[in-house]
């Protein structure tokens, strides 16, 4: 009998089976369920239809206002109220009020709520992000979340796994974002439909957790059900630090894939041949090296979102922006992913660097990433963004154009006023360590 992948092992435990195989239908026990201010109100309405009084386990539920938070209008204030009142009513302690939270996909790992080996179900498509910890995590809609709130379980089809083996040492300015944009370009927007993308290989030893969260964050942009990285020392150190900081010591499970596990496909990526990438409008799969892309003029640069607004990202952007100004015609906006990141960036003086460069620095929110508020694009405007989707109308008007990049490219673009490679700035690339610090 062939071995199992990490994904199969996690789902076997969660479903009470010795072994599961791709294609098996299982009922999996959920370790953490998440909803946000857009999806939770719908889930709560569905949940009420069941006539059940209490959610299955309030300690395993996280509710995070992020998308239209701070409330942008009365309607979104009401969505926030629905979620807040439900959290209080149900005794859900992992409700993160404004000023104490941020974007869920960065917040839950930071809070030691998302952990290795867990099954995490989030009513948000980028819930695949938690896979960077070695968890099985996937995005669902509100009704699926409602069923989980009621029963603590979810039906799943065990996915095939596709393996991505990263070799070599990343070039200057190349981080997790560039790896995943190039992989999506390779496999296509539905190239990994229904599958688990397993990221592995020696090059991951050079990637911080911040970079790995970006790798798994964009699994959905390849149509995948989940993305996953087998835990190593970098993962375990991160988890330990997070657990100690937040005094949360939930058990977790460290799995590895068996050497004879079966994969639907294996792709090898030589990261030493990669340079910073850009995905042209209006599909993430339209990725190419920045150096070969047309130098389009931009109206807005957005450094934010669950994809690239972590400490590593902000440090890289500040490295370029320190002592420089954004082009007078460019609106530069920086939105740290969580309050904890905001505070750390403040302590390190990065927020000051951004403000001096002429950027707005805002409170954590999804904001412009989904065209929600705080920087919605107008007709024909061009935006270079560190987020994950450049679909038609995603960030505002349907004629606006969005280019997806890493934070170094975004910062360089802000300075020069047109899509730019960070080398054009004439500052040496920072060296990064595996905790996302510049050394």
């Amino acid at each position: 009998m062939p071995g199992q992948t990490i994904t199969e092992k996690i789902l076997a435990r969660a479903s009470g089976n010795e072994v599961v195989r791709p294609g098996d239908l299982i009922m999996a026990k959920v370790d953490l369920a998440m909803g946000n201010d857009v999806t939770a109100p719908v889930a709560i309405a569905r949940y009420r239809e069941l006539g059940i009084e209490n959610v299955w386990d309030p300690a395993k539920v996280a509710l995070v206002p992020s998308h239209f938070s701070p409330a942008k209008d009365i309607a979104s204030a009401k969505l926030g109220m629905t979620m807040r009142e439900f959290a209080y009513e149900q005794g859900i302690e992992h409700y993160f009020e404004l000023g104490r939270g941020g974007i869920e996909h960065i917040l839950l790992p930071e809070q030691a709520l998302a952990l290795p080996g867990h099954v995490i179900i989030g009513a948000d498509s980028h819930s695949c992000t938690y896979g960077a910890l070695g968890a099985f995590s996937t995005g669902v809609g509100s009704t699926d979340l409602a069923a989980v709130l009621a029963t603590g379980k979810i039906w799943l089809r065990v996915p095939e796994s596709v393996r991505f083996v990263y070799e070599g040492v990343p070039n200057p300015w190349v981080i997790g974002k560039d790896l995943i944009l190039s992989v999506i370009g390779l496999v296509g927007d539905e190239g990994c439909s229904y599958q688990a993308m397993e990221h592995t290989g020696p090059a991951l030893g050079h990637l911080s957790m911040d970079s790995r969260f970006t790798l798994t964050n964009m699994a959905i942009e390849a149509g995948a059900k989940s993305g996953i990285v087998v835990p190593d020392q970098i993962t375990l150190d991160y988890v330990k630090q997070r657990q100690e900081l937040h005094r949360r010591f939930t058990d977790y499970y460290v799995y590895d894939s068996d050497p004879d596990a079966e994969y639907a496909a294996t792709h090898t990526v030589d990261v030493s041949a990669l340079e910073p990438q850009v995905s042209l409008p209006s599909l993430p799969s339209k990725s190419q090296p920045v150096s070969t892309a047309e130098r389009v003029k931009v109206d807005q640069v957005f450094i934010g979102s669950c994809t690239n607004a972590k400490m590593e990202d902000l440090r890289i952007a500040a490295h370029i922006l320190r002592g420089r100004k954004a082009d007078p015609r460019v609106r530069l906006m920086v939105i740290p992913a969580t309050q904890e990141i905001w505070k750390q960036a403040n302590r390190e003086g990065l927020l000051d660097v951004f403000a001096e460069a002429g950027a707005t620095v805002s409170t954590p929110t999804c904001g412009p990433c989904l065209g929600g508020h705080m920087g919605v694009l107008g007709p024909d405007e061009v935006c270079v963004s560190t987020s994950n989707r450049n679909y038609v109308g995603r960030m505002g008007d349907k004629t606006a154009k969005v280019y997806l990049v890493n934070p170094a490219v975004a910062a360089a673009t802000a300075v020069l006023g047109r899509l730019s490679h960070p080398d054009e700035i004439g500052v040496e690339a920072p060296r990064l360590n595996t905790v996302g610090e510049l050394v």
Partner: protein
Amino acid sequence: MTDVIEGPAHVYGDNVDTDVIIPARYLTTIDPAELAAHCLEDLDPDFVKRCRFGDVIVAGRNFGSGSSREHAPIAIKASGIACIVAESFARIFYRNAINVGLPIVECEGITDGAESGQVFRVDLAAGVVENVARGRSHAATPLPSFMKEILDAGGLMPWVKRSLDAGGEVSVGVSADEPVQADWRLD
């Protein structure tokens, strides 16, 4: 749920994502009628005007990709669309549609020669989709029986409620006489 759906089609291409089905600017409501009023407006501004109760959507690959917003299938269902037939679906959208009780059928080759206005006939039980205008039938990917059960119940919530009311465990009920199909790839 009726097993046979017949109606004129609205035909679209590949990668119809949930941002164009219902843009974020309308996500501050959860009212189906309000959502339906803006369904697909960034892709096809006339859809709302043209769409009649019982129409179908026929589309290319990766329908419903992107955001997990259930507002997307809710908006489509509330527009009166009786069924979506596509070459392939993004998985979250697929689950969401079944969960809200919107029939959805994966059918390879269905966009060949498909044009808006042509009548399509979808036999959910038989797993056959026919482009009536062209007289061409296509085999659809069959739904596993428990997903049919969910659709028949009117969505996931009534289905879960039924199991809970019966005091039973909620389960996908895979039985020995319905072996799991390893090539079935719809979640």
